[in-house]
């Protein structure tokens, strides 16, 4: 569905070149749900804007839904849907009117567009809001309308730029329910950007981690966590001296009476570790294991947390 090679974008800001995207290779097969994960300013949105023909690449090529973004942008546009970061509906226009307009933008006749608009109003629970102006909708309702606008022409591929940013947890869960339901019903390929770790972790089949304009990791959340971060074992001892010795035995870090270790499979490693500590006469008071998060993966790769807002220049 997507084949991108060496995709690059340089912006000129006050006569200085800013390298937003530095050579991205990306292949996405049909029917997948892929999340582009990275901190703010990593180049996720710029990548998406190039793939959706909003921004010409400085160099590199991309074929999206079978058409080249530079040579045949109209061919790409007809086949993809796009849900941007900002509200898609114009403030002066009623919800249903905007949906009908959107259908006509894709070449549907007025009657066809109206039928499709009504269908989507039902599908996304927007029916009672049909005659309202976007300004009177809640954040979650606006987002559902944005998604409806992106789906009007039944695209095979839908791009979503930060679909759940700024929503309360309940609306986020609601939006996700809709996205997953659509996917199940129509097999739409979904490519989205997010900086919410749990979202990428729980929802995406494949996570592409982007930092500083490059892909630094790519795989399922499980693969990334196993390969790049590993599980955690945390134990506490009654004395600090014991904690230091326990850290020495397991190869971890002691902090006060707490010891942390990173191991490939914590559930299997914990009994062995506890037996070894017991043999050395160390009294363990608590022990627990934890799976790594994608933030651990990002930390292992970059030395920074994904939620840090400091973006390296």
């Amino acid at each position: 569905m997507i084949h991108a090679r060496g995709l690059t974008r340089v912006f000129k800001v006050k006569k200085q070149a800013v390298h937003a995207v530095r050579g991205i290779d990306l292949d996405v097969e049909a029917g997948r749900l892929v999340a582009l994960l990275g901190p703010n300013g990593a180049g996720k949105s710029t990548t998406l804007r190039m793939l959706t023909t909003l921004l010409p690449p400085t160099s590199g090529t991309a074929t999206v839904a079978g058409h080249d973004v530079a040579r045949d942008p109209a061919g790409v546009r007809a086949r993809i849907g796009y849900v941007g970061q900002r509200t898609s509906a114009g403030e002066n226009f009623r919800v249903r009117d905007e949906l009908v307009t959107q259908g006509r933008c894709y070449g549907l006749g007025t009657r066809q567009a109206a039928a499709r608009a009504d269908e989507l109003l039902g599908l996304l629970d927007l029916e009672p809001l049909a005659a309202r102006l976007p300004g009177t909708l809640s954040g979650g309702q606006r987002r559902r309308l944005d998604i409806a606008l992106g789906l009007i022409h039944r695209p095979d591929l839908l791009f979503l730029d930060e679909p759940s940013t700024g929503l309360d947890p309940k609306s986020r869960a609601d939006i996700w329910q809709h996205i997953l339901r659509l996917r199940e019903a129509y097999g739409t390929t979904l490519v989205l950007t997010t900086h919410y770790l749990e979202e990428a972790d729980n929802m995406a089949e494949r996570v592409v981690i982007i930092d500083n304009g490059r892909i630094i990791a790519d795989g399922t959340a499980e693969q990334l966590k196993n390969d790049l971060a590993g599980d955690h074992i945390t134990i506490t001892t009654s004395a600090e001296e014991e904690a230091r010795r326990a850290a020495g035995i397991g190869g971890g870090d002691a902090e006060g009476t707490t010891v942390r270790l990173r191991v490939p499979n914590a559930a299997a490693a914990l009994p062995d570790y506890l037996r070894a500590l017991d043999g050395s006469g160390i009294k363990v008071t608590t022990a627990e294991t934890a799976r790594p998060t994608l933030d651990d993966v990002f930390l292992a790769l970059t030395g920074r947390s994904i939620t840090d807002d400091d973006i390296p220049a």
């Binding site: 909003l54 796009y82 900002r86 509200t87 114009g90 606008l149």
Partner: protein, 247 residues
């Protein structure tokens, strides 16, 4: 070409629908010209020879300056919000986005102009049908050009929009005041009259006054038409280029 016409119709009907849904908004927009017509025009009555024939075209030109500028403003709002971006990802023709919007502004302007002319009739405005029709046609061409220029300004001003407010406000009033819309330029000091002659709107105003008085053969009509066509050509050229280059 058929897709282009279809896309233009799509954009036009999108823009026009809110006006159909809330027709009162159209009247509200006319508040300022109406105030000028009744409150200011009545004061001029008698002060300038054949006042209404002189004043009504001025009011119409004033509307042609403010209307298209507000069309640029609505585009700016959509550029700052996400709705323009959403439409740019559809196969909709870029040029149609511009033309459809400009057409909506023109239709609204035409309706308002006709209303102003009708309201001026009981005040003593004498209708010269051929001249009025020719005058309205000229105004429409002018507002297409000015509308396009204001779209270009909106595109260049996004995302902050500051440039749009600064330029539109600092251009609008000098253009108005130097064109003799409100008061005759003949009594102005020499340097002001020189500035007035550099203002393309002056030629339009003079031509409008000749046309609304029924003097279709007046040389000012020729100059006014030339100035109008020049503005329209420049506006459409720059507007089309700005839309194609991407927003």
């Amino acid at each position: 070409m058929t897709t282009f016409l279809r896309d233009t119709a799509t954009v036009f009907s999108r823009e026009f629908k809110p006006a159909v849904r809330e027709p009162a908004g159209l009247l509200f927009e006319m508040g300022q010209p109406l105030l000028f017509l009744f409150l200011f025009g009545s004061q001029l009555d008698g002060a300038v020879g054949s006042s209404w024939q002189w004043f009504v075209p001025g009011i119409l030109v004033m509307m042609c300056l403010t209307g298209p500028l507000s069309a640029g403003y609505t585009l700016l709002v959509e550029l700052i919000g996400g709705s323009m971006e959403r439409m740019l990802v559809t196969p909709l023709s870029r040029t149609a986005m511009l033309v459809g919007r400009a057409m909506k502004a023109v239709v609204v302007l035409l309706a308002q102009a006709v209303l102003i002319v009708l309201l001026a009739l009981p005040l003593g405005f004498v209708l010269h049908p051929a001249g009025v029709l020719a005058g309205l046609a000229q105004l429409l061409v002018f507002s297409v050009g000015l509308g396009s220029l204001s779209f270009v300004l909106a595109i260049k001003s996004a995302p902050s929009g500051t440039l749009f407010y600064v330029v539109s406000q600092s251009v609008l009033f000098p253009l108005l005041l130097l064109s003799g819309v409100l008061l005759p330029m003949e009594t102005a000091p020499g340097w002001l009259r020189v500035l007035g002659h550099l203002n393309p709107v002056t030629y339009l105003v003079d031509a409008q006054r000749a046309l609304f008085s029924g003097n279709l053969a007046d040389p000012s009509v020729l100059y006014g038409t030339a100035a109008t066509c020049a503005i329209a050509a420049i506006g459409l050229y720059l507007g089309n280029r700005a839309m194609r280059k991407g927003v």
